[in-house]
């Protein structure tokens, strides 16, 4: 199975270990992974600021790069959600249609496409899951607390395959962390307050490691935790699933 690896810009720049874990996870599950070096970004930073019209070339470039791949996988529900939901403003070429239909978040890909039932991973720690909003409410990787329907959690499913993991319950299961792209700087006070409150919830529930599918949320939470010189360790879910140790 030929899988194109999409490593979002900020993961490429700041968190290469997340890209590496995603690549290794795919390889372990017998995917033939290709990584087009010309990739940059999904265009979400511009679009969420109201400038989606400026990102059209980026959309087409990305679609062109991955057209030969059966699937495209990224360690970021947020970017995947953007591609699926907001690439509707450009001409729906075969490349664009293919990209929108075949792009998956890594956890979603493991559960829905590879249909894995076990993982060679152990992580003997108390872990708090931050259910990032785009993955949760945009893609239903978990059950949003607002909805009264039965939506099985894909995050829980894969995390429970990890040996020794102790998943914490939180007081507020799925409140937003306050990152929100440019929101993080445009609404700095609310953004940081939201992040502090999320961290406090994890602390109150004795979380040792805070994980999530979206590194952007984690970057924001990590930034606050580091400044406060307290709080849980921050690890992307791909690293836990890949069996990486602390």
């Amino acid at each position: 199975m030929k899988v194109g690896l999409f490593v979002p810009c900020y993961i490429d720049q700041f968190f290469p270990e997340v890209g590496i874990a995603t690549l290794q996870l795919l390889e372990k599950h017998n995917c033939e992974v290709i990584f087009p070096n010309q990739q940059t970004c999904c265009g979400q930073p511009m679009a969420n600021s109201g400038m989606e019209q400026e990102g059209k070339k980026i959309y087409h470039d990305l679609a062109y790069l991955f057209f030969s791949c059966e699937y495209i996988v990224a360690p970021s529900p947020s970017c995947v959600h953007h591609i699926r939901s907001h690439y509707d403003i450009v001409e729906q070429t075969e490349e664009i249609k293919h990209l929108r239909k075949q792009t998956f978040d890594i956890v979603e890909f493991l559960v829905d496409v590879l249909k894995i039932d076990h993982l060679e991973a152990s992580f003997p720690h108390r872990v708090g899951l931050h259910q990032s909003c785009h993955g949760l409410r945009g893609m239903h990787l978990g059950k949003p607390s607002e909805l009264m329907s039965n939506i099985p959690s894909k995050w829980d499913k894969v995390l429970k395959m990890v040996n020794g993991i102790d998943l914490a319950m939180l007081n507020r299961a799925d409140e937003c962390c306050g990152f929100g792209g440019t929101f993080a700087v445009a609404e700095e006070a609310v953004s940081v307050k939201m992040g502090k409150d999320r961290l406090a919830d994890h602390n109150q529930n004795n979380v040792e490691v805070l994980t999530s599918g979206d590194m952007s949320c984690l970057m924001h939470l990590q930034g606050i935790a580091k400044r406060q010189k307290s709080g849980p360790k921050i690890v992307h879910i791909a690293n836990i699933l890949n069996g990486d140790q602390l």
Partner: protein, 455 residues
């Protein structure tokens, strides 16, 4: 800084109070969840309500005419107001005809939108808000901070002090039962004296020409039953086709708002009492223009339950007044730009697009998607500040050119201070005020890949 972010910044300065505000509203959200969970058909109810409202918006012209015809048959006097000034003028004329000087009003966001109180007070007409929360903020000369809980931003100790000053209650007594009793006595006298009663409308029924008003305090009834003139102010979007549709909305409204199965009072008004007059003022005030905007029209489905405010993590931490518009919170952020894009261009950005608002909405308005779409409109209309557009245009150019991106990354990691704006754009200070930057790795993923996978 935008208006919203300035006000939010100010609100959050008192962190203990922010926590109190957040918890108070989160508690309401939890009550909503608990009550929705009890109905296995909850999601079906939402879908049904959404479709009924879609039908209403698509056939609004017919339903409005039908409503007017039926209401007139019942002896109701129907008025049409094109805008807020028209609405106020019509009410002024009705009151003048009856020489009404003392008016009681039950909760109405529409009269708030039209600034009816100011209009009447300028004409020396006393207008008393009779909903307890509304009365509190009226005495404080403040706008409501929430559509259902207008005084949610005020602590009981502050109400105690306010009532001590305005209603003569004991100093330093903030016992809720004591204060509520004092308010009741005060308001009872106002009801007895009233020359006319004004209410908002939760639902107008096209089939019957009746209006339905939901309250917890019975204040709409006390006003309408004691005053010789009753006036109901209704936005054009408040209609339901038939009485049988009410059940769907009554079951959703209070559960979404406060977690109650229904409001304590659900009052149906069809005709005037013998010897009294009943008026309905149907108000457009920009709604028909709004209806013509395909991407945004379905926000007119809103039934003003306030659930999106209770769930919004930004609203809970910035307060209703930070939205500087009649309707605050996520729904206010998509309604207000219809009225004035320039003035409210900051509101669609007062969101992380987390989507919780859309999930709690009982009529399934795609609130967060509309926030996203308003952002695009704001850019198209040149209302985005240059401090935002210029760095983002540069970022776009970088992303369009992989070779530039690839080489800039190395420089950026080497010296984060010179970062070209991949993630943090131009505003380093805002990121770093209370947050650290991530440690710069020696190499990015692309470099690692090249080395380790022999490309």
């Amino acid at each position: 800084m935008s208006q919203h972010s300035k006000r939010a910044d100010n609100f959050i300065k008192d962190e203990a109070r922010t926590d109190w505000h957040d918890k108070a509203l989160w508690h309401v959200r939890e009550k909503r969840d608990a009550s929705a969970e009890q109905l296995p058909e909850w999601e079906l109810l939402r879908e049904t309500a959404s479709q009924i409202k879609d039908n209403v918006l698509s056939n609004l012209d017919n339903y409005l005419v039908q409503f007017e015809t039926e209401a007139k048959k019942n002896g109701v006097i129907v008025h049409w107001a094109e805008d807020a000034a028209d609405h106020n003028r019509i009410i002024g004329e009705i009151l003048e005809k009856h020489n009404a000087r003392k008016i009681v009003k039950s909760k109405s966001m529409l009269t708030e939108e039209c600034k009816l109180n100011d209009f009447l007070e300028e004409r020396d007409i006393e207008i008393i808000d009779t909903d307890l929360g509304e009365r509190i903020i009226q005495l404080r000369k403040e706008p409501p901070s929430h559509v259902v809980l207008p005084a949610i931003h005020i602590k009981k100790e502050e109400v105690g002090e306010l009532f001590h000053q305005k209603l003569g209650t004991e100093k330093d007594n903030s016992d809720p039962t004591y204060l509520t009793k004092a308010a009741r006595t005060h308001l009872r006298n106002k009801f007895f004296e009233a020359d006319a009663a004004i209410t908002g409308v939760n639902f107008g029924i096209a089939e019957t020409g009746g209006v339905v008003i939901c309250t917890n305090e019975g204040n709409a009834d006390m006003g309408c039953h004691s005053a010789p003139v009753q006036i109901h102010c209704m936005g054009i979007e408040k209609l339901l086709p038939k009485a049988e549709h009410l059940g769907v909305f009554i079951r959703l409204l209070a559960r979404s708002a406060t977690g109650q199965p229904s409001t304590i009072y659900t009052s149906h008004y069809h005709q005037p009492r013998p010897g009294a007059e009943m008026h309905v003022v149907i108000v457009d005030n920009g709604r028909s223009t709004h209806l013509g905007k395909e991407d945004f029209r379905n926000s007119l489905k809103c039934i003003r339950c306030g659930a999106c405010m209770n769930t919004c993590p930004i609203y809970r931490r910035s307060g209703g007044h930070s939205y500087h518009s009649t309707i605050p919170g996520p729904i206010g952020a998509i309604l207000s730009p219809n009225k004035n894009l320039k003035e409210y261009s900051d509101l669609p950005f007062a969101s992380t697009l987390c989507g919780s608002c859309s999930n709690v909405c009982p009529v399934k308005i795609d609130i967060h998607e509309q926030l996203y779409k308003w952002r695009q409109e704001i850019y198209k209309n040149n209302e985005l500040p240059k401090s935002k557009t210029i760095p983002l245009k540069i970022t776009t150019k970088v992303f369009e050119n992989p070779s530039v991106y690839n080489s800039l990354g190395k420089i950026a990691r080497g010296s984060l201070r010179n970062l070209p704006g991949f993630m943090i754009y131009n505003n380093f200070n805002a990121w770093g005020k209370q947050r650290d930057l991530p440690d710069a790795p020696k190499e990015g993923f692309k470099q690692w890949y090249k080395k380790n996978r022999n490309e």
